[in-house]
């Protein structure tokens, strides 16, 4: 799948895919959420999704505001519950494409139980979970994904908790498609989101996005550039990660401890709730 843009299409995409009256976005300078939106729309365009038949669902938080910018049916729901609403939409009308925007706090904190069960049920949803390590909308409090030792207004002496690896959770639960990318690279996320949309069953694309305003500046990253540079220094492709783990020197292996794996972690086939429910209805229908 090529991610080369055809000339002029970007301007066209803006006209056709954005709710123009909602712009400019509410996002701060240096925030990666606009990029997530941009990449998603390119993926939507690549897959050729009909926006009239696509519903964007979100919960509460900065990332959940993304639904409002897309020129399609959208549902901005309650905190943590996007997957419940999305499940209802998809189960009631399996012909609709349902894409969920959520955040690390929304999707894996308050909404963690729904994440777990939506994957277990294998609802045919594409979930784009933006992880910025913080509760940005409320001012940057510590989140389930905040690194141990990180600082925030609610962890003024450093976070004592262990962060959640959302992708590992999704993998363990058997999600058919699981990937993680930083927003600092455009083409891989576009490709992954497109693959996620095309996948039958649950797909999770975790997008690592900087929050210079609420997270970075409290954790030694002042200014936009260092915030974005952080992802280059602290991510490693999953293949490379595994190579180093197996064959790397002790120094190389030690260096991995500071890094997060990125890449496509899981790409398997598994019958979705929709498929199984349709088969059940066929069996018992009057």
């Amino acid at each position: 799948m090529s991610t080369t843009l055809t000339l002029k299409t970007a301007a066209e995409l803006r006209t056709t895919h954005l709710r123009q009256e909602m712009f400019p976005t509410i996002f701060c300078d240096g925030c990666g959420l606009g990029n997530v939106l941009n990449y998603t729309l390119w993926a939507v365009e690549q897959v050729g999704l009909d926006l009239d038949r696509t519903v964007f669902v979100s919960g509460i938080g900065c990332s959940s505001r993304l639904t409002g910018y897309v020129n399609a049916d959208g549902m901005h729901t309650t905190h943590g519950r996007a997957l419940s609403f999305a499940t209802g939409i998809k189960a009631a009308n399996p012909d609709l494409n349902v894409i969920v925007f959520t955040g690390d706090g929304d999707g894996s904190g308050i909404g963690g139980n729904h994440l777990l069960h939506t994957i277990r049920r294998n609802m045919d949803l594409t979930v784009i979970l933006v992880n910025n390590f913080t509760y940005g909308m409320t001012g940057g409090q510590s989140a389930p994904t905040s690194p141990t030792g990180s600082f925030s207004p609610t962890t003024p002496y450093g976070n004592v908790e262990h962060p959640l690896d959302i992708c590992e959770l999704a993998q363990a639960l058997g999600a058919p498609y699981v990937a993680r990318w930083p927003v600092s690279v455009p083409s891989q996320p576009i490709k992954s989101i497109a693959q996620g949309i095309s996948k039958r069953g649950f797909s999770l694309i975790e997008m690592m996005a900087p929050c210079p305003t609420a997270y970075g500046r409290r954790n030694g990253l002042r200014g936009i550039e260092p915030n974005w540079q952080w992802y280059r220094d602290h991510t490693v492709l999953v293949d490379e990660y595994e190579r180093v783990e197996q064959f790397g020197s002790p120094e190389e292996r030690a260096a991995l401890r500071d890094k997060m794996k990125i890449g496509v972690f899981q790409d398997i086939e598994r019958e979705s709730f929709g498929d199984r429910w349709a088969a059940l209805v066929d069996r018992v229908k009057l």
């Binding site: 709710r19 009256e21 909602m22 926006l51 009239d52 038949r53 519903v55 669902v57 639904t67 409002g68 020129n71 399609a72 049916d73 959208g74 549902m75 901005h76 729901t77 309650t78 519950r81 997957l83 419940s84 609403f85 999305a86 499940t87 209802g88 939409i89 189960a91 009631a92 009308n93 012909d95 609709l96 139980n113 729904h114 777990l116 069960h117 709730f273 429910w277 059940l280 209805v281 018992v284 229908k285 009057l286």
Partner: protein
């Protein structure tokens, strides 16, 4: 090939059955055209989900068991936006969990029906015992200013009939409608006669007719906006934030918030003539009245006859619609009677709006009973006798 209505009959079975109140709620939903149910097991409401899980796939609908009650109400609200009729069922603890999304249903004007088969609280309380302890939670459980519709049937037959009414009101006013029974009524078996289609009136939400100039939350005289389901090309944005007529968030404008929240209240309050349902016995010849609802009102019906046999001019106002509260109706009764007895299976919840409506026109006595037992006829008779001696 049979029609959908014929298949409903086939799925429901015999016209006359001996079933529980929970079953009756499920039957009412199916008759109303409900095709989507999401729920979570909880005593004493589980049988509603059991019936729905059995019937819905036979009719090509969808039953989904969610991970909790928060997800259950979320799923039905999501499903409702695809244009189908939806329901969930729960009991007190689950209803507590649903409160936030109930408010979401109200502000997003989403038709849905929530059955609450009440049990004693607070907390886990008495799971298998009936109670009416959630009446005020129904009114004010979700945060912020709002109106809500709550219906309380008194029998298994009425549970089915009012479930149909609940769906109609949800569709007509585009709002969540609550139907509350209790553990006793939910698990009590009675004769149920399934009405013919000719006896059933159904209302479907008003659909948007043209994309031209359409705004998803713009209203006309009815104060209820026209509905465009997800996937119909209207590209509607739905948010729990304060929004303008286009549905777009406008969170800092006092005027827009004021207009929206007042309209949401008015669309219900302006239609109380249609929404308020009740039954009166001896309204014109009554000295001491009972105002009751739910299963308690059944006992009261017999007690009134018994009391009249003993020379007490007793009457009964059975409230069917609890919210919006029928203030004018209660005030009319207060004009005519010496005293009002309010028997409740809680420590006095509807007693308060009754006193507010009575405004001192007559005495109001609460007969509260908790613990799971119904009021006995003797208890009610004794209270009536005492009140009949009350000076005017």
């Amino acid at each position: 090939m049979s029609t959908y209505r014929e298949r409903i009959r086939q799925a429901l079975g015999a016209k006359v059955q001996f079933v529980q109140g929970d079953d009756a709620c499920a039957y009412g939903a199916i008759l109303a055209g409900c095709t989507f149910f999401a729920g979570y097991p909880i005593t004493p409401a589980t049988e509603v989900a059991e019936r729905m899980s059995e019937i819905l796939p036979k009719l090509g609908g969808c039953y989904i068991q969610m991970e909790d009650e928060i997800a259950s109400i979320g799923a039905i609200i999501g499903a409702s936006w695809t244009g189908v009729k939806v329901m969930t069922a729960t009991s007190g603890p689950g209803f507590s969990l649903m409160q936030e999304n109930l408010g979401y249903g109200i502000i997003t004007e989403t038709p849905c029906v929530i059955i609450n088969v009440q049990r004693s609280g607070p907390s886990t309380g008495q799971p298998t015992m009936g109670a009416y302890g959630d009446m005020m939670q129904a009114r004010w459980g979700t945060h912020g200013d709002h109106e809500i519709i709550l219906l309380c049937p008194s029998s298994v037959q009425e549970a089915m009939e009012l479930t149909i009414v609940a769906f109609n009101m949800a569709e007509q006013y585009r709002t969540p409608v609550l139907l509350f029974i209790d553990g006793e009524l939910g698990h009590m078996r009675e004769r149920l006669v399934i009405p013919d289609d000719s006896e059933i009136t159904l209302f479907d939400r008003v659909r948007a007719e043209s994309m031209e100039g359409y705004k998803p939350f713009q209203v006309g005289e009815s104060l209820v906006p026209a509905f465009a389901p997800f996937g119909s090309g209207y590209r509607t944005y739905v948010t729990g934030l304060t929004h303008n007529e286009q549905g777009l968030p406008r969170t800092s404008s006092p005027a827009i918030h004021d207009k929206l929240v007042r309209r949401l209240a008015a669309k219900i309050n302006d239609h109380t003539d249609d929404i308020v349902r009740y039954e009166e016995f001896y309204a014109d010849d009554c000295d001491v009245a009972i105002v009751a609802y739910g299963i308690t009102a059944r006992t009261c019906r017999d007690v009134v006859e018994e009391a009249r046999g003993r020379g007490i001019k007793a009457g009964l106002l059975r409230l069917i619609t609890i919210w919006p509260f029928p203030e004018a109706l209660v005030a009319r009764w207060a004009e005519r009677v010496r005293a009002i007895l309010v028997p409740e299976m809680n420590m006095g919840q509807i007693y308060h709006p009754i006193r507010e409506a009575v405004e001192g026109r007559c005495a109001v006595r609460l007969l509260a009973k908790i613990g799971g037992e119904l009021h006995t006829p003797t208890e009610l008779l004794d209270a009536l006798e005492e009140l009949s001696c009350q000076p005017r």
